[in-house]
């Protein structure tokens, strides 16, 4: 799907066309996002709002504070759980997954 972006803003010029777009996967689905911008921003523009399911009550969680302080946006990124997607920059080829439960420590390689 095409990413949702704001164009024709009366004051701000986002210069979307100048940004470096990279591919990543979310739960196995291929998506595109801007390299270096937060993973959460890429997910949001791809219409993904649910980032994790809480361990006990299985509630949905997503973006909330945007400054890395609330733990709502945790996801498993490249196998590492509890990654703060709102302040973690997107890299090409990242494997982003919905986190269910508390997170399983990635074993040492």
């Amino acid at each position: 799907m095409t990413r949702k972006m704001i164009k024709d803003h009366p004051i701000l010029n986002f210069e979307h066309e100048k940004k470096k777009v990279v591919k990543f996967t979310f739960d196995g689905r291929e998506m595109e996002g801007v390299e270096g911008e937060p993973i959460a921003a890429a997910l949001h523009s791809n219409g993904v709002q649910i980032y994790r399911i809480t361990p006990k009550q299985e509630r949905t969680r997503g973006f909330f504070c945007a400054i890395g302080k609330c733990s709502s946006c945790f996801m498993v990124v490249n196998g590492v759980p509890n990654v703060r997607t709102c302040v973690t920059p997107l890299e090409a080829g990242m494997k982003v997954e919905t986190q269910t439960g508390m997170g399983i420590l990635k074993p040492e390689e």
Partner: protein, 367 residues
Amino acid sequence: MKRTDILVVGGGPAGLSAAIEAASLGADVVLMDSDLKLGGQLIKQTHKFFGSRTEFAGTRGFEIADILFDEVEKYKQEGKLEVFSNTTVTGYYKEDGIVSYTIGEETYDLMKPQKIVMATGAQEKRIAFYNNDLPGVYGAGAVQTLMNVYGIPPGKKVLMIGAGNIGLIVSYQLMQAGVKVAGIVEAMPKIGGYWVHAAKVRRLGVPIYLQHTITEALGEKVIEGATIQEIDNSFNLVGEPMKIDCDTICMAIGLTPTCELLWSAGCEMKFVPQLCGYVARRDAMMRTSHPDIWVAGDAAGIEEASAAMVEGRIAGLAAAASLKPEGCQMLRERSADYLKRLEHLRAGDTGAKIRSGLEQVCCECWG
């Protein structure tokens, strides 16, 4: 171990101003900010600031940030200022004044600054309503980050909670971004923000529901709507709940200062309702009870960017002055103008709340 004259924690308007001021006086400065981009909340503001020329009247928030970034760049080139973004100061160890920090997720290190300016800003408050944890409920700062920094629409139709300055401004910004605003809900009987901001949203036909509160967010996995209801003067629900069609609920009900590092450092703290939470006691030069730590900006009390920038200047000046033998003289001379500017910003009716808050935590000097 990395050492420096002054560490500034936080790269928003107060922190940037403190770093620039200190560097301009010859101090070696390190600035650390935990976000990916510097500028704090300033880079998200599209409206024009008002006040006097020195307070950048007529200039948009994000443009003021650019002005500060240019000065930062100048001192960086001169080698007086080192800037770290995506860097969180994780601890202040009181026994030896050592600071720990992490860069991203991979790097952890320690440093020893001689002096510190804490400009750690604030965080959003929340209110309780059924389903307030569903995705689609965002803080105002988060909404601004998506739409003004990354150019991504936060949703299609937003219900705004809070008619203070932030609620009004963000509502207007949403509409500039092409997002509909279903309405603004405010618990008090009158609008908390400046009239000029309220007028803009009213002209665009956004209903403002005074003496109303949100009772429920609707939806199973994400927000699909909300119910609001009228409240009386004692905040009891009256009348019938009203359903509002929206896919995003933006909470702009207030901020509270971020003070963990100040607590760790053993600074004297006081709960001041007018300043929106616990804040550090400080003297006129923004120094806390800890002789090596200053505070500035929203971390010192919720106010706004103009005051944050002047407080940042004062704190940066005072911290740099404390490292010089001729510091006291310099401090007296240069601070007079800054103090006058703050007085001007806080004058009149609009400044009454801040003034009564500051009275409770300001002391003449630490003796």
